[in-house]
Amino acid sequence: MKKITYILAGFALFAAAVPVQAHFQMIYTPEMALKEGAKIPLALVFSHPFEAGHTMDMGKPEEFYVIRSRGENEPQRTDLLKTLQPITWTSLTNSGKAWETEYSIRGGDYIFCLVPEPYYEAEEEAYIKQETKLIINGGGEPGAWMDPVGLAVEIVPLAKPYDRWVGNVFQGRVLANGKPVAGAEVEIEYLNHEPMLDKKAFAKKAAVEAPQDAFVLQTIFADDNGVFTFGIPRAGWWGFAALDLEPDYTYKGKKCSRDAVIWIKAVDMK
């Protein structure tokens, strides 16, 4: 009987782990720290960034907006949902429905926030909803990058996300409904295949090769205050996904993993 219980527990663990493995909601634009104001392209793609693998179909997002803050000015929110145009994004193994838009920025911080429609993972009979933040800066004058934006689940940076040299650490605090999530599981992936916005596809060439599968998707647990720390080993984009932050959350009567994602881009010191 004991043996069966173990087997069942093993299955349950397996089932719980699989739906969230390596899925990353991306808000992609080539640069995070712009020297000056510019019109920037943005692509919303739900994929597996290290391997440029299976790209999931995105539904129409529930919310997509930007919060601009500069210096001590009050942050200002602009809705961008209506600006989204549907596109098809090509991975190395398939194509999936995605979205694109562009936005003119001036100076200061621009926090792009995406609340996607939950994605149904049929094999697991469960949904995934990754509420995602991307913080862009124009000109170097900071704004309110360190403040929560009020998403139901979010990662709030404790280190300025757009000033990270390679070798620095990135720290974030995981929040669910405004409160720190002690021991939150955070998965980390490197954007290993350059997104080519003109072709709406990942580049075939990988930047690095993982010596073993564990390195594709790194894992860190947050401490008792919901804070995690990651040493940045390489220049480029890194995605952080804090998983299943509201374990009882459901969507259309089924389990829904409510995840918080943030992206940073580190730069070589040279």
Binding site: E36, G71, E72, P142
Partner: protein, 102 residues
């Protein structure tokens, strides 16, 4: 004693801004006005910083201060000009009109 406290507080206020890099960018609004946004690299406000618009020979076309939201808007002059963000000696930024685009 009061005077010392006053001087000390002034020194602290001033240092906060001076210890960091001044930043200013100007944008052509496309309606014959130009808006400059200023600040400091530590996120402190540039409200009250003197702003000046000069033509090529140095005569002043308009002047004023950065607003409460660290902005300064002026009518776009004919021909070339430059904008001076003047936060005190050693903390000036001069922006040529050729660098000011929409």
């Amino acid at each position: 004693m009061m005077l010392l406290a006053f001087l000390l507080s002034f020194c602290l206020i001033a240092t906060q801004a001076w210890a960091h890099t001044p930043l200013c960018s100007c944008y052509d609004n496309g309606d014959n006005t130009v808006t400059c946004e200023g600040g400091f690299s530590d996120g402190s406000s540039a409200s009250g910083v003197n702003m000046r618009v000069e033509n090529k020979d140095g005569s002043v076309l308009s002047d004023g201060q950065m607003s409460d939201t660290s902005e300064f808007t002026f009518d776009k002059p004919e021909g070339g000009y430059k904008v001076i963000f003047d936060a005190g000696e050693g903390h000036q930024i001069i922006i040529d009109s050729s660098k000011i685009v929409e």
